[in-house]
């Protein structure tokens, strides 16, 4: 439930079926022509570009220091001086939201990479070889699917994240790993069904009949065809994982000071929601708009790739 | 007077790639108790015509831009939606090609037959059930009383098509449109279904419009034949005349492409070239790029209907010569 990507898996897997049927090149060309005319696509691409720019060069967007807490200006509402006001520690909310972009985006990106790699490898192996390997891998993925996302992440993070050890790298790594560990089965299922479809295609059958090695078939023939649905999924997942990071930080088990992320800001602000709502609302808005951009992009690409929706 | 008359019907599909002019002035008619066969290559517009007559085209993308569909002298296209709906199934009914997808998978066959009787005729549940069993009996489904409770997927292909026919007959239509009713079936079953349709048509004195690719079937059951090409009727005649002396090069080519017993082993003549792209229908006679008798005029002037006598009409500049052989 807290993993919004789960529900898309079936829809995306269906795209896989469709995608594998057509010739990949023609399909991508069609998809691009389709995408070019969609305003939602351009809106989301623009937002993502801006967010990436902020993450790379936060200094371009603010001159304020995100880690300068002046208690005398604590919880001051938005003003010309500080557009988003100050939080309870007297931090500049706007500056922190700008500087928090990097960690939020990074966690989302790394978690996505992890999920896609884990899920794709297992999925394509399960789909290609079938039989007992498929059965075992599928059961393993069932095990991970059975754990509710938020719950599993809290358990993992509280158990492994012993207090006192607050190195930023370590926390980021743990958060990324726990998101990836709990989410890879979705990517695996998408990849698996795409692989099963691709395996039944004539050119794959032909390659097998000609004695190509399994490795060659997988890498050269199947992967290019199975990638489209996984990429659609990963776009949406990237947005979802940024949201997941924030949720975990909100619960106090994710990133925390000295790392600045939107989730950390929201966690800092949540207990003062009555007196300083702006400290919660602005990072939430950053978060929502970014997640929205990725979800919209994924949605647009999915529709463009799905011949049934034309 | 004709029971059902289609006149100068134009239908276009407004798609993203452009406007496909699918029907470009279709005219045909069918009298009570008569069977009209509609022939033509795939994509020539046979089904679209039938759906336009039924009023079940999807709009958008399909738009009827011109023409009349007269049933008992009333133009269906000018009727209110409500009144038109009343003529469906009771005036004109339709049998679809693929009964598996045309029947709703989640309702029993009985439910789908009874539904019309209950909604349209106000019959009680029990009466409707009784009538449904009778209808299934009429289309020779064995054990009808029990099968009425089964789902479409539990029927064999032939049985499913019989059930579909029973459903279309529920409100005793005066015209039955059968759109390739046997194409989805095994060859052995095809003949049985055709026999059934012919028999029902005779018994009920219905008019039937039979859309088909199968010239053999046409020769057996059709009283008259209309040949379609690129959204037009290019030739119409009674069955015997059309087979003996086709008046349009396209009809002649169709006849040639038919496998014949007396020519076993020789190569089949197929019609050269591709059916026209409906986004860009050729100028003049739409058949001219493929026509063996083409002259210069053919790519310039649209041929008018040439009357060859006794209801034999052909849209070819050289109709008279074609008939002459």
């Amino acid at each position: 439930m807290s993993d919004p990507t789960a529900a898309t898996s079936e829809a995306v897997a269906e795209v896989g079926g469709g995608a594998a049927l057509g010739k990949p090149r023609g399909l991508l060309g069609d998809a691009w022509r389709e995408l070019r005319v969609r305003p939602l696509f351009w809106i989301s691409v623009t937002i993502i570009a801006i967010v990436v720019l902020i993450a790379l060069f936060p200094g371009l967007f603010t001159h304020a220091d995100p880690n300068l807490g002046i208690l005398s200006r604590s919880r001051k509402p938005p003003s010309g001086e500080a557009w988003f006001g100050y939080d309870t520690q007297g931090y500049d909310v706007y500056a922190r939201a700008i500087y928090g972009t990097r960690a939020s985006l990074l966690v989302g990106l790394l978690a996505t990479v992890g999920v896609v790699i884990l899920g794709s490898v297992f999925g394509i192996l399960a789909g290609f070889y079938g039989g007992w390997l498929d059965a075992v891998l599928s059961r393993i993925s069932d095990i991970f699917v059975g754990i509710p996302f938020v719950l599993g992440a809290i358990v993992i993070l509280t158990s492994l994240n012993t207090a006192g050890n607050t190195s930023g790298v370590r926390i980021v790594t743990l958060v990324v790993l726990s998101i990836a560990a709990l989410s890879w089965p979705v990517a695996m299922r998408i990849m698996r069904s795409a692989a099963i479809t691709a395996k039944q295609q004539d050119y794959v059958k032909a390659a097998r009949a000609l004695g190509a090695s399994p490795r060659r078939i997988i890498v050269q023939h199947m992967l290019p065809n199975c990638l489209a649905p996984v990429l659609v999924y990963s776009t949406i997942a990237l947005g979802a994982f940024i949201g997941a990071e924030a949720t975990l930080s909100y619960l106090g088990v994710g990133l925390r000071n000295p790392v600045v992320s939107w989730g950390v800001m929201i966690n800092d602000a949540k207990d003062y929601i009555r007196v300083a709502p702006h400290a919660l609302l602005f990072p939430s808005a950053f978060l929502t708009v970014t997640v929205l951009a990725f979800v919209m992009l994924g949605d647009a690409v999915r529709e463009a790739l799905d011949p049934k929706l034309r | 007077m004709a029971l059902l008359e289609v006149e100068d019907l134009h239908v276009e599909f407004r798609t993203r790639d452009g406007v496909a002019r699918v029907l470009n002035g279709v005219s045909y008619h069918v009298d009570a108790g008569e069977t009209l066969a509609v022939l033509g290559e795939s994509g020539s517009g046979k089904s679209v015509t039938a759906q336009a007559v039924m009023g079940i085209l999807d709009t958008p993308p399909a738009f009827v831009t011109h023409g009349e569909v007269r049933f008992k002298d009333e133009d269906l296209l000018k009727m209110s939606d409500e009144k038109r709906r009343e003529t469906r199934a009771s005036g004109i009914a339709m049998v679809f090609q693929d009964a598996l997808s045309a029947l709703n998978p989640v309702f029993t066959v009985g439910f789908q037959i009874e539904e019309q009787l209950r909604v349209r005729r106000g019959m009680s549940k029990a009466d409707a059930r009784k009538r449904a069993i009778e209808l299934l009996d009429q289309v020779k489904i064995p054990n009808a009383a029990q099968r009425v409770r089964e789902y479409p997927h539990q029927f064999s292909g032939g049985m499913r098509q019989r059930a579909m026919i029973a459903m279309s007959l529920a409100l005793d239509p005066e015209v039955l449109i059968a759109d390739e009713p046997t194409t989805a079936l095994d060859v052995t079953v095809q003949a049985q279904i055709m026999d059934l349709l012919a028999e029902l048509q005779r018994e009920r004195k219905m008019a039937m419009i039979l859309i088909t690719h199968d010239l053999g079937v046409v020769a057996e059951v059709a009283d008259r034949i209309a040949v379609m090409y690129a959204g037009r009727i290019v030739e119409q005649a009674d069955a015997v005349t059309l087979f003996r002396t086709p008046g349009h090069p396209y009809t002649a080519a169709l006849m040639d492409s038919m496998p014949r017993l007396d020519q076993k082993g020789t190569e089949l003549n197929t019609i050269k070239g591709l059916p026209p792209n409906l986004l860009k229908i050729p100028s003049g006679c739409p058949f001219h790029p493929r026509c063996p008798r083409r002259q210069d005029i053919c790519s310039v002037d649209v041929p008018r209907q040439h009357n060859l006598g006794l209801g034999h009409v052909s849209a070819c500049h050289f109709a008279e010569e074609v008939v002459g052989g």
């Binding site: 754990i147 938020v150 492994l160 | 998978p105 989640v106």
Partner: protein, 307 residues
């Protein structure tokens, strides 16, 4: 059918064991002193520690510990916490609250999601359709804690229309948290319904229903809906299981005394028995819901037969 259910139950055993073992290992096998802070400021007396270690079989290898735990569980014994509270007592207080919350959420999700989906599915590419599409995108992008906090802030604190935290645990009290819990899935239900309706609009059997001269209301309400709702209803089924595990955030915001808050507290205070007990329960609910959904599928779609 019976054989199918048996086989499915049988297949669930390894998944159940795997999931619970994973959680068990995470809770019990990680380094760190489980008794830290359990006895106030001072370290726990050795006597207490050894008694506890014996009670929780902590000197056995992990697998054996887990095995013993599972055996007790099979006899309905969820165990006691360090402080001697019976886990089952706490569960029997909190579990019904979360079940009620999940049911409220499910009803809200179904009503709003399905209606929005039908409206937008029938008006392909109209204004309402775009409105539904855009709002579902928004809902999908809004993390639950944002939705919850904003609703609490605006309607609870600023406007005073609702109480910022729940007053009781009856169905009516849980409407606002239920709405928040449902908000994300609501968007999915709307989109799923929309896609499903869009597909069945073009289905041949709808054309047949039209050819039969049925009124539009019947073509849509009977022929289209009955088919389009099959995937939606099964989605709702799996969601009920997911809601129970996903309620932590919502319960926290609105102070709902349900299972989520209990889990959260137990994790923080390292009450391992409580955590494993609750997670086991949730996994069980989830697995049974998936089975139920499969069976529901067979009921809804006569083409599906389980042998």
């Amino acid at each position: 059918m019976g054989r199918y259910v048996l086989r499915r139950l049988f297949q669930m055993i390894p998944v159940f064991i795997g999931t619970t073992f994973l959680i068990y290992a995470l809770v019990w096998a990680v380094p760190g002193d489980p008794f830290a802070g359990k006895c106030g400021e001072r370290p726990c007396p050795d006597q207490y520690v050894s008694a506890m270690r014996a009670q929780f079989n902590m000197d056995d290898p992990l697998v054996v510990q887990y095995g013993k735990y599972l055996l007790n569980l099979l006899q309905g014994d969820f165990g006691k916490t360090f402080s001697g509270t019976e886990v089952i007592d706490r569960i029997s207080v909190t579990f019904p609250v979360t079940v009620r919350l999940a049911i409220v959420a499910l009803i809200i999700e179904a009503i709003i999601g399905i209606s929005a989906g039908i409206v937008s599915g029938l008006r392909n590419r109209g204004f309402l359709d775009s409105l539904v599409l855009v709002s579902t995108l928004f809902l999908i992008s809004l993390p639950v804690f944002v939705t919850g906090s904003v609703i609490q802030l605006v309607f609870g604190i600023q406007l005073g229309w609702i109480s910022p935290t729940v007053k009781g645990t009856g169905f009516a009290d849980l409407i606002v948290p239920g709405f928040v819990l449902a908000s994300l899935s609501m968007a999915y239900v709307a989109r799923l319904t929309r896609a499903s309706i869009g597909e069945s609009r073009r289905a041949d059997y709808v054309r047949t229903a039209n050819a039969k001269g049925l009124p539009v209301s019947r073509v849509v309400g009977v022929h289209m809906l009955r088919n389009s709702l099959i995937p939606v209803i099964t989605f709702l089924g799996t969601d009920l299981g997911a809601f129970m595990g996903g309620a932590i955030v919502t319960e926290g915001i609105f102070n709902v005394p349900g299972i989520g808050g209990l889990i959260y507290k137990s994790i923080q205070t390292k009450e391992g028995v409580m955590v494993t007990g609750l997670v086991t329960l949730l996994v069980l609910v989830y697995l049974l819901m998936t089975l139920l959904v499969d069976l529901l599928y067979a009921v809804l779609d006569p083409r599906i037969r389980y042998e």
